[in-house]
């Protein structure tokens, strides 16, 4: 439930009140509940030959994706109950540099496929490799991120092996029978259903930003087993070109503590620099967009948050010039504090926000940027 508190006084007063409240709740410091956030130290588990839990690792830019580390945190927890190994599948070209990162986050065994043919993701080649690895090594559970790649690869492998798959889960657990409970939201998050599989391995993709990473243990090492892509499998789809553009920053929405949502109320893309200044003061917070804003092309589609976009869970979300349609607000259900800035006091966003300022973003955002900058300097 949101607080729905609309601040009072003239705009500068409201902005000061807002900054004060945000500082009290952890801005520029430690967010409430952050201490309990991590799963704590990696405890060494007893391996009793139980079900192995695999994580399909993903690399974005030149680092392991946050969702891979989140999945490993959960895999460590699950394997504590199963008494089996945590395995990570690392597929790509010249990816051996990521072995250490996987090991210190709890991986016992890394299945490494390091080959030129894997330099780019290919549905055909990766499906063949993962399906074969599952058949050869028989893990008990296979987890992937619900990312562009995870959502392309997982159903293909599931259909090839005749396996059940639960897509876009928000949590995983083990029931009394040792089965993997896969918590799957549906209807825009209106319900969360626990799903079970009758096939082995149990397979699930998990939405980024939902699970907690384990604290790394720099002393940990992992065993490495090599996998080789099947030379007979070629990619039917050929990649001609790739463009990162501005959309690269959108991936940061998955794990950002602070995100700035932009609605049609900002008037046009020419006004984005005002928002970007605020983003800079907030440590480079990524921008989120409503469906309207992406339809209009003001921000790339990857930034879209809501029913037909991504669901995010930052500690703090600013909804700027956002009316607050259901289409958008379902995507911020799991956000911590929601701050609404909108000149229309009747906008539904105020019913879906904790703190609200009724005012023109063009006046409020520069005031807020200056006030936050001053507050940050004092810390």
């Amino acid at each position: 439930m949101r607080e729905k508190r609309v601040l009072e006084g003239d705009l500068p007063t409201q902005v000061q009140t807002l900054v004060q409240l945000l500082l009290e709740r952890g801005l520029f410091g430690t967010w409430a509940g952050d201490e309990a956030e991590s799963n704590g130290e990696l405890r060494e588990r007893k391996l009793t030959g139980g079900k192995a839990v695999w994580v399909v690792a993903e690399i974005l830019g030149d680092a392991l994706r946050p969702v891979t580390l989140e999945l490993l945190g959960k895999a460590v927890e699950l394997s504590g109950k199963y008494g089996g190994e945590v395995g990570a599948l690392l597929m790509g070209n010249s990816v051996d540099s990521y072995i250490a990162g996987l090991a210190i986050h709890g991986t016992d065994v890394i299945y490494l496929a390091n080959h030129q043919r894997l330099a780019q993701y290919s549905t055909d080649i990766y499906t063949a490799l993962l399906a074969r690895a599952i058949q050869d090594h028989k893990p008990g559970a296979v987890l992937l991120g619900s990312t562009a790649t995870g959502r392309d690869l997982a159903p293909r492998v599931a259909a090839r092996l005749g396996l059940g798959l639960t897509g876009d889960c928000i949590d995983l657990d083990v029931n009394d029978q040792g089965q993997l409970l896969q918590y799957k939201p549906a209807f825009g998050g209106n319900i969360v259903a626990p799903i079970l599989s009758r096939t082995a391995p149990e397979m699930a993709t998990v939405r980024p930003g939902m699970l907690k990473k384990a604290k790394p243990n720099p002393a940990r090492q992992a065993r490495v087993e090599m996998l080789w892509p099947d030379e007979a499998v070629t990619s039917r789809v050929t990649v001609l070109s790739q463009s990162g553009a501005d959309a690269g920053k959108a991936a940061a929405l998955d794990s950002a503590d602070i995100a700035l949502g932009v609605g049609k109320g900002i008037g046009g893309p020419a006004n984005l620099p005002v928002i970007e200044k605020l983003a800079t003061v907030l440590g480079g917070a990524p921008l989120a967009s409503t469906r309207d804003v992406s339809d209009l092309g003001w921000l790339p589609r990857q930034h879209q948050v809501g029913l037909t976009g991504r669901a995010i869970a930052p500690k703090l979300y600013f909804a700027i010039g956002i009316r607050g349609a259901f289409e958008h607000t379902v995507g911020i259900r799991r956000a911590g504090i929601v701050v609404a800035i909108n000149k229309n006091p009747k906008a539904p966003i105020f019913q879906n926000a904790d703190l609200g300022i009724v005012g023109d973003y063009a006046e409020v955002v520069p005031l807020l940027t200056a006030a936050l900058d001053a507050a940050k300097a004092k810390r």
Binding site: R151, P155, A159, A186, N190, L196, G248
Partner: protein, 228 residues
């Protein structure tokens, strides 16, 4: 070119309310629509047919009331509609659904299969790739742009990735899943709806597709919803 568009009828999610007593979703009286991404896929298929000829078939598996979703597709310009409708399909998970659709697709024949990137109710995005795998054809997910190459034997597709876009080529037959950028949204005019009234969807039952009905429904589904 024959294009088959996989569509799903979904409840209008914004109109759904939780029953405060039972904490379950009230389904009664909630209006239904065609999942938004599927509409984009259909409109793209129609645009391709209008410029290059061929046929567009809308295909769904669903309860009897899903007929309305197919009628909507006919009003938007689909040439034909096929409805997999049978109690023997009820309770199918994504893999059992993909099996039924793949069997119907084989029966129907196709050059291109289009679908939405995921439905707005269940949001799995699995059925498309599972169908492609069962048919052993290539797939391109999250397509934002699509053109048919000269000669009509391959496609050039721009697909959305998590950090940008990539342009790929893909031979036909293939399955492509649509993002909202693939075509602009459109609603049928009154005249189009009137005109579509004369057409109806062809109904296909489970036994039309496969003798062993245990391949569908809960018996053919490797996943199930745990109670509580």
């Amino acid at each position: 070119m024959k294009t088959i568009v996989l569509i799903k009828q979904v409840p209008v999610v914004s109109a759904m309310k939780l029953d405060p007593e039972t904490k379950t979703l009230k389904r009664e009286g909630v209006p239904a629509e065609v999942s938004s991404f599927d509409i984009r896929a259909l409109l793209k298929a129609i645009e391709l047919r209008n410029s290059q000829g061929g046929e567009v078939v809308a295909l769904t598996m669903g309860p009897p009331q899903a007929k309305a979703a197919l009628e909507h597709c006919l009003a938007l310009g689909a040439d034909r509609a096929v409805h997999l409708v049978d109690r023997a399909f009820a309770g199918s998970d994504t893999l059992a659904t993909a099996r039924a659709l793949a069997l119907a697709l084989k029966r129907e024949g196709y050059d291109l299969i289009l679908c939405g990137r995921h439905s707005t109710d269940a949001e799995t995005g699995q059925v498309g790739p599972e169908v492609a795998e069962l048919l052993d054809i290539p797939q391109v997910t999250a397509a934002a742009k699509l053109t048919v190459n000269e000669g009509g034997k391959a496609l050039t597709v721009e697909r959305e990735t998590d950090n940008g876009f990539e342009t790929v080529t893909c031979p036909l037959p293939a399955l492509i899943s649509a993002t909202e950028d693939l075509a602009s949204e459109r609603f049928p005019s009154k005249a189009e709806r009137e005109q579509a009234k004369g057409q109806s969807a062809q109904e296909v039952t489970a036994s039309d597709l496969f003798a062993d009905l245990s391949t569908f429904s809960t018996t053919g589904s490797p996943t199930w919803v745990a109670s509580g």
